[in-house]
Symmetry: C2
DNA sequence: AGGTAATTTGGTCATATTACCAAATAGTAT
DNA sequence: ATACTATTTGGTAATATGACCAAATTACCT
C-alpha cells in the first residue's frame, strides 16, 4: 500500500469552492449558455426562469468563484466563461450518469408558495 | 446571436447532483486518495479527520451519485473511483483558481463545541 | 452463544444555501 | 431633474447540508 500525500486543507477548500459554484442546475444552465459566448443578464434571466435578483446572485457567486468574468456596457452587464475546460468536464459528469445506479435524485430547493410577507422597510 | 437550445431541467438536476457529490473538501480528499486504487473505510477515516459515521455518509453519498463503487470483504468495505475522468477535472479546477480573483473562501461547516447532548433513545 | 471490530443508520442541531420581494444603485435619455 | 430600464443588494423564510453521538448491523472469531 502506497503512502498518501496529505493534501493541505486550504487547497481542498478552494477547489471545493469552485466546484460548488458549478453545482446547481441553474448555474449549469448559465454555464452551458455561455459556451457560445457572452450574454447579458437580461438574456440569462429569461433562460433561467427565476427572479432577476436570483439570477444576478448566481452570476455574482460564479464570478467570485473565478468561473465567470463580467463586462459592463452601458445599462447592460455581459458575463462570459473565464475557463472553458469546465465544459469538457460536463462530459465526464455525463459519463458518471451513463450506466449509473438507479436513483440519483438531487432535489433542489423550490419555493413553496408566495404567501403573505411583512412589508417592513 | 444564436438560438439557445433549452436543456431539460431533469438532465441539469442529475448533473448538478453528481457535481454536488464532489463539492466538499473531505469528499475531494477521498476521491484523490482513491486515485491510486481502492481503500477501506478504515483507511479513509484516518485520512479525513472526522467521525467514522461522517466519513461513511460521505462515501454513501458519493456512491449514490455514481462516483464510487464498493466491494465488501469480510469486515471491511473497500471503495473505489468508478469514473476516473473526475481526476482530470481537478486540473481544470486548479486552472480556475490559477490567476483567479483575490478572494474565493468557501467556508465549510465546523462543529463549534461538543456541548452536552440529551441522551434520548 | 457471546465477544469484538468495522461500518451504517438514526437523531439532533448548527450552519449554509437559495428562493422571492422590495429597495437601492447605475446608466441613458428626455 | 425626471423618467425609465438593467442590475445589484438587503431582508426574510424555507430547505439542505454536514457535524457529532449513540445505537444498530454485519462479519468474524472463540
Amino acid at each position: 500500500m502506497t503512502k498518501l500525500p496529505a493534501i493541505p486543507a486550504g487547497q481542498l477548500n478552494r477547489r471545493a469552492g469552485v466546484i460548488k459554484a458549478l453545482a446547481h442546475p441553474s448555474r449549469l444552465r448559465i454555464v452551458l449558455a455561455l459556451e457560445r459566448g457572452e450574454r447579458c443578464v437580461c438574456e440569462l434571466r429569461q433562460l433561467v426562469k427565476a427572479d432577476v435578483s436570483t439570477v444576478s446572485k448566481h452570476l455574482a457567486l460564479m464570478k467570485r468563484a473565478g468561473l465567470l468574468d463580467e463586462r459592463k456596457a452601458g445599462l447592460y452587464v455581459y458575463y462570459r466563461l473565464r475557463v472553458p475546460c469546465i465544459l469538457r468536464f460536463l462530459d465526464c459528469v455525463d459519463a458518471v450518469l451513463e450506466h449509473a445506479p438507479p436513483a440519483t435524485r438531487p432535489r433542489h430547493y423550490v419555493k413553496k408558495s408566495p404567501i403573505k410577507r411583512r412589508t417592513t422597510r
